[in-house]
Symmetry: C2
Subunit: 205 residues, 2 copies
DNA sequence: AAAATTATTGAACGGTGTTCACGACTCGGG
DNA sequence: CCCGAGTCGTGAACACCGTTCAATAATTTT
């Protein structure tokens, strides 16, 4: 059995990821301490550094898991709602709000976490971020058939970022954020306005 | 002279704020260390805690200064551009992009900084955040005279948050953010869409 | 001028991420 | 089946962090 060692290694990695995930879910990103995580995972302090380069990389793995779950939620949201492009975009935005609300700390960690300046995240992790805009492209393309695929991708990023901004400032409880009670309604209004604006921008509409 | 002491105290506070501001501008929020800031301000380590409760409060003072500067920039942007509500909103958004770009780390610190969970920022600092939406209310109200002042305030927050989200993800260099080269154009397109959408939502327009 | 009060100092404390020599363990060849 | 080469897990130790506090210096009051 040449894979006994590798099995133990991936098992340790998974235990550490699960421990860090639980830690984030309970106490937020700032609550992720090497000593607490390793204690929860049932290993020694130094073991963390045999499984991952550093704590940042461990957090990146948790974030990738969260992104995967979020991607699945958005995918089923779009699959469930087969209506007009407007309805699909509203369903996606509503699902984003729901996911962020129900997984507040894990979702928050996606954008709170910062690598040291100048350090790029590994490719596998960057790829996982694509789920945030993948589902937007098709319905947005239906609304704006005049856009090139390059421009469409750009506008999808902008659309996501706009909705994300409203959700983030609200769930962070910032002074300028909308109250959480009004979040869903405000996101609906924003998507509505953006969709109507897109309609008008379409030549001949 | 009973104010000699008070003068020295506020001088120390100002030196510390200036030092922390320079530190953020040069190395980002994460680069603000008590020892470096006090060394730069020319005082002992412990002096920081005679001037402020802790480092968080010092950062809050820096952020309030940044918010004041940002508020003035937005105010002159609106004063300079006396056009249609659409043009005013575009000018405000463009100025926000410009300020964020030109003061990237200080602007970033406004939203990167987090107080420990459950700790509310002091009232004076919360009030300073109002500049982010103050200038938006008037032009938005002109576009949507049907909205109550309560709803108008809410929609102003949403409008700001949408623009802010696009700027933040872009300047952070996130994978899903728009490239910085396209930021200004995408923000213009977003504001354009939101304004057109607001027009359509107006009864009888 | 001396006493009382206040401000400033920097060593020390507890907690952090990360490292590394050491001992335990796994694995392939006899 | 066993044993040496190589790998992995361990936790004490290190450097650095924010924060505190007894001691010292400075200022104000008497």
């Amino acid at each position: 059995m040449g894979n006994k060692r590798e099995a133990r290694r991936t098992d340790l990695q998974n235990r550490l990821i699960a421990a860090a995930e639980a830690q984030i879910a309970e106490t937020g990103l700032a609550g992720v301490k090497a000593r607490e995580v390793t204690a929860r995972a049932g290993c020694a302090l130094g073991a963390l550094y045999t499984a991952f380069d550093d704590v940042d990389m461990l957090v990146l793995h948790v974030n990738s898991r969260t992104l995967t779950r979020l991607g699945e939620a958005l995918k089923t949201a779009r699959a469930t709602c087969d209506g007009t492009p407007e309805e699909v975009l509203q369903a996606l935005a509503a699902e984003y709000v729901r996911f962020a609300r129900d997984n507040r700390r894990l979702w928050s960690a996606l954008f709170e976490h910062r690598l040291p300046e100048g350090v790029e995240p590994p490719t596998w992790h960057k790829r996982d971020h694509a789920v945030l805009i993948e589902e937007i492209i098709a319905p947005l393309g239906a609304l704006r058939p005049d856009l090139s695929s390059k421009m469409l991708l750009m506008r999808a990023r902008t659309t996501f970022a706009a909705v994300h901004g409203v959700v983030q400032l609200s769930l962070q409880g910032r002074f300028v954020g909308v109250p959480q009670d009004s979040l869903a309604a405000e996101v609906t209004a924003l998507v509505d306005a953006m969709v109507r604006g897109a309609h008008l921008a379409r030549p001949g509409a």
